[in-house]
């Protein structure tokens, strides 16, 4: 179902029901977001984000190769 199909029915709701609908949608969005990261589950982050010495070594290896 698309927004275009639902919108006329939403517009026909009473003011109170529109406020309730806003609350329901907001709660639904919050619930969906909180489910993105589940508790008690492992999410590995492998990025060697501060391996600057290693980065220097790789650059040296590339320079050495160019010099050959």
């Amino acid at each position: 179902m698309s927004l275009a199909e639902v919108l006329p029915e939403v517009q026909s709701l009473s003011r109170l029901d529109k406020i309730r609908l806003i609350q329901i949608v907001a709660q639904e969005l919050e619930r969906e977001e909180s489910e993105l990261i589940e508790p008690n589950r492992s999410y590995p982050v492998w990025s060697p984000d501060r391996a600057f010495t290693a980065a220097g070594s790789l650059l040296e290896a590339l320079e050495d190769e160019k010099g050959r």
Binding site: L36, P44, V45, W46, S47, P48, D49, R50, A51, F52, T53, A54, A55, S57, L58, L59, A61, L62, E65
Partner: protein, 138 residues
């Protein structure tokens, strides 16, 4: 002349996470003594490129012949690593030389980081469209 960018899809890495489990995995072919078709996580937060142990073995390289050791960080801080420089073909772009920290673990994907993947390629991420674009640096 600037090469046109090539688009690649985000691919599922953890189907249970549905859309949140997609990641920018770039198909590439690495060549050592042999060639291996693989894919690498395009990771702008990684300082260096990383190769898992098994991929290098598939390439026919010998751990003991790689004499330059490097120290990694993050989850890989305790993992021994050595420097290797390989030829890599990304998409239909010309081959480039990529330097990798060859990690002595298989619990890590191929990672394409700042040195030197991002030094050689420009990347645009369009996460909401589920694709990313790559082109050689101009």
């Amino acid at each position: 002349m600037t090469s046109p960018a090539q688009s690649f899809p985000y691919v599922p890495r953890d189907p249970s996470l549905e859309n949140a489990g997609l990641a920018p995995m770039l198909p590439l072919t690495l060549t050592g003594d042999r060639s291996v078709a693989t894919s690498g996580l395009v990771d702008s937060g990684a300082t260096v490129n990383i190769l898992p142990y098994a991929v290098e073995v598939q390439l026919g390289l010998d751990w003991d012949q790689q004499t330059r050791s490097v120290e990694l960080s993050g989850n890989l801080a305790s993992v021994e690593a050595r420097v290797v420089v390989l030829s890599a073909v990304v998409g239909s772009f010309p081959p480039v030389r990529l330097a990798f920290a060859w990690a002595r673990t298989d619990a890590v994907p191929v990672i394409l980081g700042q040195v030197n993947f991002f030094l050689g390629f420009d990347v645009c991420f369009f996460r909401s469209r589920g694709l990313f674009e790559v082109r050689p640096k101009s």
